[in-house]
């Protein structure tokens, strides 16, 4: 019995083993590789996607539990050829290094800013406690987020559509 869900606004189905983590459905099934497979245990956040309007680690979601769910991945967080404010801030502040953690960082922080328009540095760090980065030492990421807080509303539409 296939599982049906929406992926970045489009109906999809998956007919394989319903225990398969959403992460693998995205990467292997849909060949959408922006969602990164890193720790597969809910610690690193590199596979974070929006499920039902909340950012969660996709490695921890058996696809069988997601019948009818609305899923938004990094590929759908902003319209093609456009960047959302978090992505733009990361570019402007030259924050990126190896880049593997950034799709997850973008998802988590986009949602976080939607809920917290004027966060503190420590608030941002707390929000990132499930998004690890091995390269950057985090502070530049925080700087980038601080630069856009309150000044703009992140592309909430793209997240919750």
């Amino acid at each position: 019995m296939a599982v049906e869900f929406t992926l970045n606004g489009e109906w999809r189905d998956f007919a394989g083993d319903p225990r398969t983590p959403l992460l693998d459905v995205l990467r292997d099934g849909c060949r959408m590789t922006g969602t990164k497979s890193v720790c597969r245990a809910g610690f690193c956040g590199a596979c974070t996607v929006m499920v039902g309007g909340e950012p969660v680690p996709s490695c921890q979601r058996p696809i069988g539990m997601l019948e009818g769910a609305e899923i938004v991945t990094i590929e759908g967080i902003a319209p093609p050829e456009e960047l959302n404010p978090v992505q733009r801030a990361f570019l402007e502040h030259d924050v990126v290094q190896c880049g593997m953690c950034f799709p997850g960082m973008v998802i988590t922080l986009t949602d976080f800013l939607r809920r917290n328009a004027a966060p503190t540095r420590s608030g941002i760090k707390e929000a990132l406690s499930g998004n690890m980065c091995r390269c950057t030492g985090y502070e530049r990421i925080i700087d980038a987020v601080m630069s856009i807080r309150e000044t703009e509303t992140p592309a909430a539409e793209a997240v919750s559509r």
Partner: protein
């Protein structure tokens, strides 16, 4: 990396999503030995990193309406087993007697996991030593509504901790607790991520400010969290002086046989326990 249990050929789907508790129990009972209920799935899905394959058959509980709800009244509260840590932390009202539970739900793991991991999963994940909610619920003297094929039972946390390793199929439906005038605190170390020692405290004082009643539950020290009866007995009637309470905790810490694991050796879990007891009493004193 995922490794899968086998036995797909039985005709039963590897993942079923029942809509009632009875249906779920039936699936659990009839699914064979390698069948597990999943709630938030965060313990089972990361099983492969512990060398435990994902079970052959999963019974997902996310479509059972009865397992939902955070209802906090003036006299009592009920939290459905499928409520996530995040939902619990956001739904609990600001109240001294619920403070420990709110901290436990709001500070565990990381935000993504808190959105998934449930109360029921926390209660049932045997082997997950760092569960925050269990000692907090012990302090509330919570009772657990357990459904088995034989029927429903309401049991206290201590009894639940013993029965949760039981072979037969069961589900946690909800926890219930009475509201009290007790003040509560939840102290853990490290303060973020997963704790290696937890002291959850709830306490009422008499007119002289002495401890009239208290419950102290300790988590992440032994394999299962437990109420520290020895400490509670000795602390009653004393002044809730944090340093004195810490000294008492030190004196009777032989009540525990701590587990050693990669995140902390046993001696460390025990060594910091009196500190956490002190901090819990300090929090209560500070917050009045």
């Amino acid at each position: 990396m995922m490794t899968w249990g086998t036995a797909r050929k039985s005709g039963i789907s590897p993942l079923t999503s029942p809509e009632t508790v009875d249906e779920a129990l039936e699936l659990l009972a009839g699914g064979g030995p390698d069948t597990r209920a999943i709630a938030g799935a965060t313990w089972i899905m990361r099983g492969p990193t512990r060398g435990e394959p994902v079970p052959a058959r999963l019974v997902a509980l996310n479509r059972i309406a009865e397992l939902r709800g955070v209802e906090i009244g003036a006299l009592s509260g009920r939290i459905g087993a499928m409520e996530s840590h995040d939902r619990i932390a956001r739904a609990l009202p600001e109240a001294a007697d619920l403070r420990a539970l709110a901290v436990a739900a709001g500070a565990s793991a990381n935000p993504g996991i808190r959105r998934l991991a449930t109360l029921g999963g926390n209660l049932c994940a045997v082997g997950f030593v760092a569960a925050d909610l269990i000692p907090a619920l012990m302090c509330l003297d919570a009772r657990v509504e357990v459904a088995t094929p034989e029927g429903r039972r309401n049991i206290d946390m201590t009894e639940f901790m013993a029965m949760r390793r039981a072979a037969g199929p069961f589900l946690v439906v909800a926890v219930r607790f009475g509201r009290s005038g007790f003040r509560t605190a939840h102290a853990r170390t490290p303060a973020r991520d997963y704790p290696v020692s937890i002291a959850s405290l709830s306490m009422a004082t008499d007119a002289e400010g002495r401890i009239a009643d208290l419950r102290l539950a300790v988590g992440a020290v032994e394999a299962d969290a437990k109420r520290w009866a020895g400490f509670e007995d000795r602390a009653r009637g004393q002044a809730p002086d944090p340093a004195g309470m810490a000294a008492l905790a030190t004196e009777f810490s032989a009540d525990f046989t701590p587990v050693s694991a990669l995140d902390a050796p046993g001696w460390y879990r025990l060594q910091v326990l009196p500190v956490l007891v002190r901090r819990a009493f300090e929090q209560i004193r500070r917050e009045g």
